[in-house]
Symmetry: D2
Subunit: 400 residues, 4 copies
């Protein structure tokens, strides 16, 4: 009896070739394709897996779970990696791993396989996640293992009746989900050259964006976006809607040279129209609802959370503790944000909340004496004391 | 013999009224007006001080010192307060304080005066700085002290031959320097309302910006911008130049509800075309020249430095230690950044450096076996070990 | 009808004099004395309040609440202020404030009063806490207000039939609770002089400690100490027990020059035998049960939590978010720690846990190939890559 | 012509066997033994290398360089790894690597070899350091490569005339330098068992320590310890002296379960009598000389610096930036600390400094009105404002 392997299947050449390759190694291959919002024809992909030799093929719509359990953490955590782009691929890897392991357990498989190469972050994310979820499963990485040139891979594909894309190879290596689209490709390797225009897909070129803005209102309840222009939507739907509306205005294009987990700098192009709009709006709502001390410390949690997600440690216990902090901060992040979408900008023009600390402090403090002479003078006296004393001592002792 | 006070003089109504008010208190008033790039008619201001009663009036061009000793720290430190706007007023206060103290010592004055009210950050910044620089000087705050209504102030002005602005009072309270322009005003107090268009001055409205971009190249040497499009400029000049070019494209408009040092949330509008362009470009140059570990830790220093500057603690010893770190990081931040200025965006399209860690790692590692199977597999094994072990233990013990 | 004030009453001279003083101001005084483990005769204190003029006198045993809601946070949060002493007074202030406000609301009082002077931290802690809990209550600080010399105070006391301590005034100013004892006094003001021996009370002098150790075992369940030597105890009781046992061995003496919230450095002597023993033991249990990433980040939370508590911001929302993180980390902090109490040391000699990550990793990894050549080599290759690449680039370009 | 390899030689069995093993691989072996204060007979070791087949043998006294360039950073940086022990082995690895590379370049060697196994931190530290210093050198790890059992190693040793230790194998694996002694061994592997008494060497057992204390005064100049009891000493000498004096009193014993860089928890026993005494004294001098803001932020730098050193990244540019911060903080850390060495404790009883911020603030502020009613009241008003406003808003809206 042969062993079973559950393969994360994308429908592309690499994972299609992986099916006969794994069969050659003696495995029955169960293909699994997740829909996390990448906008592919998943029925076609499901069938293709069977066609190239899988014994079974799963197609799972995971958009809702992805939005609510993963994208929402990124939204509330303002997870801008290197202050530049919101984590995208890093966010889907733990969910895909979870589904792979669930199916592997259900199918009595002994192994799980992914299609990553040896040079990227995703291999780390998949393997750490899968082992954390079930350390008894073997993890296979056919593409990393076979280490073929493109020509060798195509040759093998032809021999095994795997359809080979016709014409010039796409220069792009793309990963997409609800939360955004990541693209790395040969043409991007020169950091002095601007990315080619066809590297982008979710967002309009600035030059082509409409000359009239869209102005939208986003409602949040305890940190969760619940409606756009008063229309209630499930989170997954809401993000997809914003991808469209904000994408049309060219919002969320990012050209970034980043530090990968595995030690190299790489250049990638991201498009995150919905994510950029939502994080921007959410931050502005926090600006009026979070108390100063929390507003100034939350970024420390955000930075660590971003690193943990990017670095593939979603299933490390630290993520739960960071999220416990995060969730507690969202209790009062309720209100509405008005955003002008225009020429690549998500400009927050207005924000309001029943828990606004801005309104209240004004209402309360503009007319009474909280800010009278005595308070300010006394505050400055004590607040500045350490600086003043140290300055005096250093001066008296003749030091700079 | 009467005592002398050195007054930070802006030419506006408040500090003009302060001159006779201080004379009433028995002081000879020495007015000091600094040019830190606010673009005012300083000769006029200098004379106005004398006209309303100052015994002496200084006008100091401090643009070069401001750019090189203050703005440069903000640039290299990416001092985005609350991740939103680069410190503006906070940056000039310590320099103005320094000049006031120098002139006070030179003039044998016993006091220094500023025109701040009791509700803002600047009173704190001035008073802590002045006392740190010379604890023997008394610090006076006439506007905070007199606590007049607008009408009372105008009445007093008229009685003392201080010129009163004709017509409707400007609704704006503005502070400007090389590094940007800050505006707070009554019309901004409703956080749900968009700022009025005339709240802005340094930047074009997005709707009015040119339909063709400007593409510029900025050269940096050890973190210092030295040329634009190959033309060498002194830093002050370079910033002013970028304010113009980037301002034309509507870059650097910020509408922010911030946490003031003195405990309230306030809303301000900022315009920082040059600063935004320069920090953006500088960050991208760091992205290719800073080693990962430094790139990931520098933001911790940046955050603290930003707080220290915003909070008026420039002369606290911690600033020197933070800057010592900062300066050390700039050794290799040399190179050129190509920026497309368009529709409110400073889009970095290319970056290059003789010390690029991006080029080298590619050149070196794309062809050899640094990324062969063994390295990635071994890395993942040890890197993921804590996560995997903790997961296994927690599972075995029947806990989630 | 006169207004009511609720006074935090300690039984000492200051708060006893405050009673007639507040009556003079037209208040009916309700005295409240909390037992948070300071070991005073509270019945006597309760009666004394009535005797010197209070209309009502409360005595509240708050030891259990203090231990479980406050000391436990300090224990799990390893709240060593300035890496030197576990917060003591700062921990009881929010609880006392809470009780004062509850009684004020129940008694329809319009004000609350405390006995702090204008130079310490506690005035800040009380006033911020009380206002946060009920901003409508006025906060009075009689001792800060009257600003009398010792002689003036005694004179007033005599005139108002307040008993005055006979003989030489105690040189000590002490605050004590379950979690420890704080002492500041004139004799401590010279930082070059050792504290006088009678500054200490809870701990034996090292010279007088037993020559044979006590060895105890402390059980923890999800971060909560539940038993000593197998004997189950409520937390308050357990802490008091350890104060005795560890105090006998001279554990937990601290002589610290600290930075007060109100801007000055002061010297204090602390004794925290139980707290020191418990935090030490708890940390060691975390050393085997927390995953590396959590163990390395938790100190960031601990530092901020310590500052927030010390700085009197217990009722700021940030405390809840920090504690949410903290509580999440304690899920697996279950086990037993064996501690040798000897000559001022709480030496952890052994620790065990069903969730030990130490045991498991050994059991699992000593015999298989997780640490074979390939893993270590591959790990080092990728882990060291940024350092090596940057070094190479900097060398080639002729820089140091 | 054969290639040359420079071997870090300790005189022990592993590196002695490595000499013939490397010869078998075709290398001429140059042995290098550094004296970083481990107290070995280095002349004997130097000769032993030649005897077992090295073509050349270097013995380098690096104590001064180790003390001044490495231990001093650890002292000023209070580098307590996991808040528990001062880095020991991690501190000597970069210096040894530097010397190995210098000699390799001088000898035209093509490789460098170390004696670490595949399970520890030191292999990472050596390899990253050596490659950073000279990426053209091959790094060999014979012990990791041969992966022999003890019996196989002894068999090989006998065949190649390498002296084999007679009698029972020592259960200890020790590394020692000026800054301390690290010991890991089989007997320590049970975290519930106390370490065996013979695991310790530099420190007396508490039970055996003198019943009378030694009281010493340590002078610091700009953060550098320069004298003990008024006697000037070079830093290396001073540390060795304190190892002796403090070791006699049992100071600096640490039993720690730590998180290794390579992903496992391990238990080690450390003895750092001099280091513990010096860091303790230095911290207390900082307590009176560092301004509050610096005192509260320096630990952030210390934590990162400790990790960087422990993690073998001494030659990563981040170390230089962290040290630039550190050095700047030491400008005023000048003064004298009086330490009582007794029963395992280094108790600071007194500290004084010409730059003491403690004395000055007292002298200055006890008599004037910095702490009058107005200052404290005003301070509390503004300082507590965010907490109070948020509390009010949350209450009014009916939320907890």
């Amino acid at each position: 009896m042969s062993n079973k392997v559950v393969l994360a299947y994308s429908g592309g050449l690499d994972t299609s070739v992986a099916i006969p390759w794994l069969k050659d190694k003696g495995y029955d291959v169960v293909a699994v394709c997740l829909d996390v919002g990448e906008g592919k024809d998943l029925e076609f992909i499901k069938n293709k897996a069977l066609q190239v030799g899988a014994v079974k093929s799963y197609m799972i719509d995971a958009k809702k779970e992805f939005a609510e359990d993963f994208a929402l953490v990124a939204l509330q955590g303002h997870t801008w990696y290197e202050n530049k782009y919101p984590v995208v691929s890093a966010l889907s890897r733990p969910l895909i791993s979870k589904k792979l392991v669930e199916i592997a357990e259900q199918e009595n498989a002994t192994a799980v396989a992914h299609g990553c190469t040896g040079k990227g972050n995703d291999q780390v994310r998949f393997e750490v996640a899968i082992r954390a979820l079930n350390p008894d499963l073997e993890v296979l990485a056919p593409v990393r293992d076979w280490a073929w040139s493109r020509e060798e891979e195509i040759e093998y594909a032809k021999q095994h009746n795997v359809p080979v894309p016709i014409g010039k190879e796409s220069p792009f290596s793309i990963d997409q989900n609800l939360w955004g689209r990541a693209n790395e490709c040969g043409a991007l390797e020169d950091p002095w050259a601007a990315p080619p225009l066809d590297a982008y897909d979710l967002t309009a070129h600035l030059e082509d964006t409409p000359n009239t803005p869209d102005i939208i209102e986003i409602d949040f309840e305890e940190g969760i976006p619940t409606a756009v222009n008063g229309e209630k939507m499930e989170l997954a739907e809401l993000i997809l809607h914003l991808n469209e509306v904000a994408g049309k205005h060219g919002i969320g294009r990012i050209d970034h040279i980043e530090n990968r987990l595995i030690g190299i700098k790489s250049r990638e192009v991201y498009e995150t129209p919905g994510a950029t709009t939502l994080i921007t709006a959410h931050k502005e709502l926090e600006d009026i609802t979070l108390v100063k001390e929390l507003a100034h410390f939350k970024p420390v949690i955000e930075k660590r959370l971003t690193e943990i997600i990017y670095d593939g440690l979603w299933f490390n216990p630290i993520r739960e503790s960071l999220v416990a902090f995060l969730k507690d901060t969202q209790k009062y992040v309720t209100g509405t944000v008005r955003v002008k979408l225009f020429k690549g900008h998500a400009i927050v023009e207005g924000r309001k909340s029943p828990y606004s600390l801005y309104d209240e402090s004004l209402a309360t403090y503009s007319k009474d004496d909280a800010f009278d002479h005595a308070s300010a003078v006394g505050f400055i006296n004590l607040y500045g004391l350490p600086t003043v004393v140290s300055s005096r001592v250093h001066k008296e002792k003749g030091l700079k």
